[in-house]
């Protein structure tokens, strides 16, 4: 298993432009055609609910499927100044949820300061914690207590309840450390009934196949984690791997790309298309640029500046940056789409919060 990001390997697919060109050169049915069939094109926004912020690409893990191409060799980190712009934007946005992701968001040196500032806004705060960071270094050991203090909702990836499958995707020894971290979270009340401290897990397939039914997986995870490790959690989100970044590289390298795309396209679900997360989410990159979702962010597809109505003169190019956040740009934009979007519309639908259909 490589311990370097695609970027550090100078891999062709490290470049967002190469990925987009590769995906769009496909002869398979265009995603826009599917949307047109149900009058969803151009894809428009609903009320903004989730303000997702990627605070940096640095991570202590190098997962094989990572759509961020995160890892210890990535140095892109959000500055405190950009975080301040985010706070002002959140105040203007009316969003109910702030969702922090990375990399390992906790590795950003201003992470704790940011959480403390965000707490004052009285929003639901989600941290996408990779679990192993909690035990990676002594300075992170108190994260469960810190999360508890700020009533953070913790969302953590655990691809399976066995070491073999988890480690094959996330790296050697990750399962054991994840179990240790989950116990630490349980010990302070996370995932326990009536504690009010929410611990959700994310399942995503360790290979070129679609996720299982979310409810039956949740049932199985709960039974196994409880009986084998005495671990408890609240909900399990089943997430489909999108064909970008490292997962795209894996698909191409193993000859699974065409078959996987066919699978996603054949499983297109119109209800999932209606409910795609980009319609109620805005995603902010480490450098403050805004995107329709975390996947568009990694493909460097910044939010559209072309308004639905040409009368709106306020929409300008610099409105793509969070320092110039204004709700008319956010509400009136049409969402940028591409072949990767099939990942969110397959089967029961996929989003950062699990199934959508």
């Amino acid at each position: 298993m490589s311990t370097k990001s695609l970027l550090a390997q100078n891999h062709e697919l490290a470049s967002a432009k190469s990925q987009v060109e590769f995906l769009e050169s496909s002869l398979q049915t265009k995603f826009s055609e599917k949307l047109k069939e149900q009058n969803l094109f151009p894809l428009t926004t609903n009320q903004l609910e989730i303000f997702q912020i990627n605070v940096g690409k640095m991570c202590n893990q190098v997962c094989k499927h990572c759509h961020v191409d995160a890892g210890p060799d990535r140095r892109e980190i959000m500055t405190r100044e950009t975080m301040q712009f985010c706070i002002e934007a959140i105040k203007l946005s009316g969003a109910k949820t702030v969702d922090l992701t990375g990399g390992a968001p906790e590795m950003n040196p201003d992470f704790r300061w940011f959480i403390e500032e965000l707490s004052a806004l009285e929003k639901k705060i989600i941290v996408r914690c990779n679990l192993t960071i909690i035990v990676a270094n002594q300075k992170y050991n108190d994260l469960p207590e810190f999360f508890k203090k700020h009533k953070i909702e913790v969302v953590s990836s655990l691809p399976y309840f066995t070491a073999t499958k988890t480690d094959s995707q996330r790296g050697d020894g990750v399962f054991e450390k994840s179990i240790q971290a989950l116990k630490m979270l349980n010990d302070v009340g996370y995932g326990k009934e009536n504690s009010g401290l929410i611990l959700n897990l994310v399942y995503n397939p360790a290979g070129a196949f679609l996720p299982a039914d979310q409810n039956s997986l949740e049932k199985e995870f709960k039974t196994k984690l409880k009986s084998i490790y005495e671990i408890e959690f609240n909900n399990l989100f089943a997430i489909t791997n999108l064909p970008i970044s490292r997962f795209l590289e894996y698909l191409v390298r193993t000859g699974n790309y065409i078959g996987y795309m066919e699978k996603l396209i054949n499983a297109y679900n119109p209800t999932a298309a209606e409910n795609v997360m980009c319609r109620n989410t805005i995603s902010i990159g480490w450098d403050g640029y805004m995107y329709d979702c975390d996947f568009n962010q990694m493909l460097e597809l910044k939010i559209s500046t072309s308004a639905k109505s040409f009368d709106d003169k306020t929409i300008k190019k610099n409105n793509q940056h969070v320092s110039n956040f204004d709700m008319s740009t956010i509400n009136q934009r049409s969402i940028k789409i591409g072949q990767h979007c099939y990942g969110c519309t397959a089967g029961a639908g996929s989003s950062c919060g699990g199934n959508t259909a």
Binding site: Y160, T162, K165, P205, A212, S216, E220
Partner: protein, 110 residues
């Protein structure tokens, strides 16, 4: 190289309706109904299908139900155990006939 089995033919399973649409429809409706969640979970049915695929040694079915079992959340241990069930039944089916063999042997022996 020409072979009797072509992996791409699996995708064309639906085309069997070309020569006999009425019966094909009845078959596929029935097939869909069989695999729905019922007294058995869809996951259990997938593992049974995988085991039977090995018994009937159908390469299309093995591809289809390995994928399906993975998409139902099964790991490599579970799917391998399912195949051992096939092997046990197939082996057992041979061995249980040895009772008949022994009966005959004893019948003919002094």
């Amino acid at each position: 190289m020409k072979t009797y089995y072509n992996p791409d033919d699996l995708k064309k399973f639906g085309s069997i309706s070309e020569f006999e649409p009425k019966l094909a429809k009845k078959f596929f409706d029935y097939y869909g109904e069989v695999f729905k969640e019922g007294a058995l979970t869809a996951r259990e049915k997938s593992l049974i299908a995988l085991a039977v695929s090995h018994a009937v040694q159908c390469p299309y079915c093995i591809d289809a139900y390995t994928t399906d079992a993975m998409e139902k959340g099964c790991d490599e241990k579970q799917i391998m155990e399912a195949v051992h069930v096939t092997a046990a039944i197939r082996g057992g089916a041979s061995l249980v006939h040895s009772v008949q063999m022994m009966n005959k042997y004893k019948e003919l022996s002094m």
